[in-house]
């Protein structure tokens, strides 16, 4: 959880990631993805082609001076910068997220702005940080006037969705998800762990992590983006199968309803593709229970079986007219 600049180490990192289908008829190639995510004219977009096409924007900063969200109503003013960035996977799934780290305590007065600017993504509390209450407050969501990660992530997403590259002709309907996460420091000598993943309503998911002190905040961001991406894929595919009314409607319309999954989603499943190696194993917990990949494979198999079943009469027809 290291932050740059000479300052107390962070004991808590909080973030929120929003995930949605890119509203574009065609998936973007690497070059177009880089164009979309060029949030700063002079800074490179990182584009990776292995093991899948993945573009990552430069980080932006937003200055804040407000109360931290706290579950117990404690009023803690904090000043600093919230970092945000966007990622595009296979030119198809867009993610925008914001995060900040907090040290255990900070000075009682606001320092010159330059002090905060050289500590990107760090927010310093006035006095002592109520760690547990802040973590719970972030997961619960901000009240009015409190530091609002969702607002910053949403602002970035809205900015990207206005880009002229996008034709707003999404190939199918899907819902956005947002994943709120907190990472508290792991006890000395213990490794990283995923303590809880909660599937809440209205597309909200929450994740609680424990990370060793030396883990950079961006590693946690990367892990949570990866979790959010795959949770969105599962959510979207389940939803699509629900809507296709398999077995209830006639063959061709079921095929039509499932076709977008084949065209746009099935190749996207690749857990840990861009997660730091030290955190990759945190996936294991979710693979055991509830078994993310197991569910995905079942869904994919179901779609393929359905398409095969629908193809048989067509094949039969073709052979008989020969």
């Amino acid at each position: 959880m290291a932050a740059t600049g000479r300052t107390a180490p962070a004991v808590l990192v909080c973030g929120e990631t929003r995930t949605c289908l890119l509203p574009s008829f065609q998936a973007l190639d690497g070059r177009a993805a880089a164009q979309l995510l060029r949030l700063r004219a002079d800074e490179q977009v990182s584009v990776s082609e292995r093991p899948n096409l993945y573009a990552l924007s430069p980080e932006l900063l937003t200055g804040v001076d407000c109360r931290l969200p706290t579950a117990n109503g404690a009023k803690v003013r904090a000043v600093g910068t919230v970092a945000s960035r966007a990622a595009l996977t296979e030119g198809r799934v867009l993610q925008a997220g914001a995060w900040f780290s907090v040290p255990a305590a900070g000075p009682d007065t606001r320092r010159p702005w330059g002090h905060y600017l050289v500590r990107p993504g760090l927010v310093e509390p006035f006095g002592k940080l109520p760690e547990q209450a802040t973590a719970q407050g972030v997961l619960r969501g901000s009240a009015r006037g409190e530091l609002d990660l969702g607002m910053i992530a949403e602002g970035l997403l809205a900015q990207l969705l206005r880009h002229p590259l996008l034709d707003h002709k999404a190939p199918f309907k899907s819902r956005r998800t947002h994943l709120r996460w907190v990472a508290r420091r792991a006890p000395a000598g213990e490794g990283a762990s995923l303590e809880r993943f909660t599937l809440a309503e209205d597309g909200l998911r929450t994740v609680e992590l424990r990370l060793p002190e030396e883990t950079p905040a961006t590693a946690a961001v990367g892990l949570c983006e990866d979790l959010a991406l795959h949770d969105w894929l599962l959510t979207t595919l389940v939803h699509m199968l629900d809507n296709s009314r398999l077995g209830a409607v006639d063959g061709p319309s079921a095929v039509l309803a499932l076709r977008p999954a084949v065209d746009h989603l099935l190749h996207l499943w690749m857990p840990q593709a861009h997660v730091e190696r030290t955190l990759g194993r945190l996936w294991d917990v979710l693979e055991r229970e509830p078994g993310f990949t197991r569910q995905w494979q079942t869904l994919v198999q179901r779609i393929r079986d359905q398409l095969a079943v629908q193809a048989i009469p067509l094949l039969h027809e073709a052979l008989s007219t020969r």
Binding site: T4, A41, S46, E49, T62, G63
Partner: protein, 327 residues
Amino acid sequence: MTEAVFQETTAQPRTQSVPLSHLSLELGHLYMEDFEAGPERLREHFAEVRIWVDAARAAAARRTGGRRPRISTCFLIDDYFTRFSTPAELVPVVLAEAERAGLVVDYLARESGCAVADKIEPAESVMHRLVESPPPGSYGSRPPVSETGWLPNGQRTPTSRSAMGEVTGWQPPQETAARNHSVFMDVELWSEKDGQRLWSCPFLAAVWQLARLGLLRHLGAPVLAPRPWNGGDFPHDWDLLPPLLQLNASAAPFSAYRTCTLMPNRFLAVEDAVRLILDQVDVDSGALRQVAERSAREGAAVPAAVAQRATYVFYEEPTDAVLHGET
């Protein structure tokens, strides 16, 4: 940790470094009115500046612990707000008057190079990097600078009508970093005319400071790289002159850990605005790290805040009486 076997260059952006002096010393900034006042104005300017140049050199030497500091000098000509004369006519006069005062101009820059240089737009890039100092109560809403084109050092006077439509009394603006009382400042960064953006003088000067501090990059590559002068004639069109020209082949590097700018005291407000801007720019983190590491290694560690690396000498401007020998 072991290094990864597989690497992708486009996935690991890198920042190129630039050579760095200890001090970038600006000998002057020429506007049309200075030029129109004739070579005597330049002569007076350089004679005055010479005194402070010696002082700035001595200060830099003290900072390097007696070792000979690397100091480069530069001179900026405004070709952005008004176009006047030609390089062929003007540059030799500037160089001759500097030489008369015992000064050498190592690098010559055009102000428009801070707006557009070699098809890159440094001013636009810096604009994208503004991170406004949040007034108390900012919880993540969109900062308005990109829409308004104005950057303050605090909270403006609220508009006289509240959201409910009733007229309220005047309320003062508030400087965020005020000590007891506010010195509120609001800086215009650009204006628009016929769909064209005109950058303000303080904003271009802030870009100029960042260039001199070695903190500008475009996709990881240095911006405003000096081009050597072949010793021939200067062109008859400003556009044909490189944005940054190295006149002295043996000069120390253009960019430096610190800058010192010598200028008449009428520029005080502009330079105060430059500091306000520099205080709210999130500069390239790679470049920032390179400068911090190298300066520390040389025992001349830079202040963390970028605006603190720029110093100034404001001198009394020569009056017409002095220029024309009247007493």
